[in-house]
């Protein structure tokens, strides 16, 4: 089903915001103003925005680790100020400054994060099971192509299809996992071929096209809510930069070719979306300028909030009190 203009405008708005947040995070890690690591989403921010913008309030959302989920956070409307505060170890962090990089917005059904790639293939089964029991909610579980190497992915897909759980397996396939290329990791051109093993419907979509992604996920969500079970949505995307800021950008042991990376840049999702909203008269240039201006201001507010928050250094006793409920 085609998107309406309002929907397209919202997607565009979210895409610009997500892109600004990603760049903010990149700048901060390079300036030493972010804890741990940052996995830039540069050039690949459309998939998360498209997948998450039209979810329902009760839907469970698991963001992808790339761009530290910025596209998804924007789509869901979680408090990025609190996430940045977390990522800088501040008391207003969404995890009390304990996690370095996790998100946790349980009241918004974004249940937490992990540094173990593919960790979510375990709880997603329960998220799906509970959603089916309750009805009127589903799960959007995002992750990368690499994560589908994990055996847990198989168990999740098997259970989901067996029990017809309302889950969208949303894969951002950027053809890379650190230095490994798609060919190193999977024998088939499409990672979503895996779905065939379970008779699960699979859709491949251009992950650079925020509108196409949104349409695909809306359809898969409808399918899920109708009790028809899971869908595998593979969003083909790309990785413009190194895996995480500071790691050399290699394919196996060789630097990735400049020419190849240059070609990838031509598929920038913001440029593509801007062309489309102008062409289809969804937004005027003036409105777009306004959106950019607002995004800049939002980033500044978020940074201010995090920077103003005091460093979290609770006592051992306070920490101990947090282990058990």
């Amino acid at each position: 089903m085609a998107l309406g203009k309002k929907q397209m405008a919202l997607l565009y708005h979210n895409l610009v915001r997500a892109d600004h947040f990603d760049k903010m995070m990149m700048n901060r890690i390079m300036q030493g103003k972010l804890l741990g690591f940052y996995h830039p989403g540069d050039g690949a921010m459309a998939a998360g925005v498209g997948a998450s913008t039209f979810l329902g309030e009760n839907d469970i959302l698991n963001p992808h680790h790339r761009a530290h989920g910025m596209g998804y956070h924007v789509g869901r409307g979680t408090d990025i100020g609190r996430y940045l505060a977390e990522h800088t170890g501040k008391v207003d962090g969404c995890c009390g400054g304990r996690s370095s990089f996790h998100w946790s917005f349980p009241e918004q059904k974004v249940y937490g994060a992990s540094g173990f790639i593919g960790w979510h293939f375990c709880p997603v089964v329960g998220w799906g099971w509970a959603s089916k029991q309750k009805g009127e909610q589903m799960v959007l579980m995002a992750s990368g192509d690499g994560s589908y190497g994990q055996g847990a992915a198989h168990e999740a897909m098997l259970f989901a299809m067996n029990w017809k759980l309302p889950i969208v397996f949303f894969c951002e396939n950027n053809g890379m996992a650190i230095h490994s290329t798609a060919a190193d990791m999977h024998p088939m051109p499409d990672i979503s071929s895996l779905a065939q093993g379970y008779g699960m419907p699979a859709v491949v979509v251009d992950g650079q096209d925020v509108f196409a992604v949104a349409e695909t996920v809306i359809a898969a969500r409808k399918h899920a809510l109708a009790g028809k079970g899971p869908t595998f949505v593979e969003a083909k995307t790309l990785r413009l930069r190194e895996h995480d800021v500071g790691t050399p950008d290699l394919a196996r042991a060789e630097p990735r070719e400049a020419k190849y990376l240059e070609a990838l840049k031509q598929r920038d999702p913001v440029v593509l979306a801007t062309r489309r909203v102008l062409d289809e008269k969804v937004l005027t240039q003036k409105q777009i300028d306004q959106i950019y201006q607002e995004a800049k201001e939002e980033v500044a507010r978020v940074e201010q909030f995090a920077d103003d928050s005091p460093v979290a250094q609770p006592s051992i006793e306070e920490l101990q009190a947090g282990v058990y409920a």
Binding site: G93, G96, S104, G112, F116, P123, G126, A152, V323
Partner: protein, 323 residues
């Protein structure tokens, strides 16, 4: 709490399930072949509670555990049964890394009310993997409570406490206690987690033991009665560990033997000994002895009776510290 009858331990566990599943609609059970039943603790539950609450899964421990783990975030109180407790290792990553840290690392916003259960223990001659004692593997990691009952009474009370606890609780039970009969009150009662019990008073030596080994401890105490007066402390929970009750007993006896059906290395026995030689140093009149499985994979065949802790080994250790 009303009438008290004698029940086998496995039925005491089942009674806790029934009571709590009747009382609280959010309690569910997840496992493999629990509807048909592998051990009698789940027998007949599916008839009463249906397949929406007694959830059989494919042969896949991560997916099975995930059903519970994810459901707990969504307001359910799952009991997830690994059949043989050692199979938990197939889901060690989500349990020991994710579940254990989940609440804390996410700012203590959420709680995960879950029970992780499974049977284990030497005696059935099934070898290392089926017998594998996993309580100390889980107890090594903060964020999951661990208990193991010694008696039917404790089994029911600890299980009720475990289901109601807002945290993940591993309830590990020993196959060698499955059919042990003992008094079990009919109604509702809890045995608190994290609280040890002096199960037998004595004055010469403190003997710590739980699960199947509690029976061996009683046998040894009986045998030595008149000669050596043995006080038996049942830790019941091993994480959190109630070291205070052990120290209080030591104030009286000044001698300590710990039985732990587990590899010795980095066991609860070692942990108790370590804590005692720190905070209870002045209470000790003799070396602290541990009676454990020596650090070898638990053999099947005909070797369990002498490789696992047994009355002879316990008696020797008790006599040793009482010389």
């Amino acid at each position: 709490m009303s009438e008290t009858r004698e029940l086998p331990l496995v039925e005491a566990i089942q009674e806790a399930y029934r009571l709590e599943m009747e009382r609280d609609q959010s309690v569910i059970m997840v496992g493999q072949d629990i509807a048909g039943g592998i051990f009698p603790h789940t027998k007949g539950l599916v008839e009463q509670f249906g397949t929406d609450r007694i959830v059989d899964t494919p042969l896949a421990e991560i997916g099975m555990y995930g059903t519970a783990f994810g459901a707990a975030m969504e307001g359910y109180r799952p009991i997830v049964d690994f059949m043989f407790a050692g199979f938990f290792l197939n889901a060690a990553s989500p349990i020991l890394a994710q579940t254990a840290q989940f609440r804390f690392i996410h700012g203590s916003q959420m709680s995960l009310p879950m029970v992780i259960t499974g049977a284990c223990g030497a005696g059935m001659r099934l070898g290392n993997e089926h017998a594998m004692l996993v309580h100390n593997m889980i107890a090594q990691v903060p964020g999951i409570k661990v208990c193991m009952p010694s008696t039917p009474y404790d089994a029911k009370g600890l299980m009720l406490a475990a289901i109601r606890d807002p945290n993940p609780v591993a309830f590990i039970w020993h196959l060698g206690t499955m059919m042990d009969r003992g008094p079990v009150p009919e109604g509702d009662y809890e045995v608190p987690l994290g609280v040890a019990e002096v199960k037998r008073e004595g004055s010469d030596v403190t003997l710590v033991a739980n699960g199947f080994q509690y029976k061996n401890a009683v046998a040894v105490a009986d045998k030595l009665a008149g000669d050596i007066s043995v006080e038996i402390v049942d830790p019941r929970s091993i994480s959190p560990l109630d070291i205070d009750t052990i120290l209080r007993s030591l104030e009286k006896t000044n001698r300590l033997v710990i039985v732990d059906e587990s590899w010795d290395s980095r066991s609860t026995a070692s942990q108790i000994a370590a804590e005692v030689v720190d905070v209870g140093f002045d209470l000790l009149d003799a070396p602290v002895k541990r009676v454990c499985i020596p650090d070898i994979p638990l053999p099947g065949g005909h070797m369990e009776p002498y490789v696992a802790p047994n009355p002879d080994a316990i008696e020797a250790a008790v006599r040793d510290v009482c010389r």
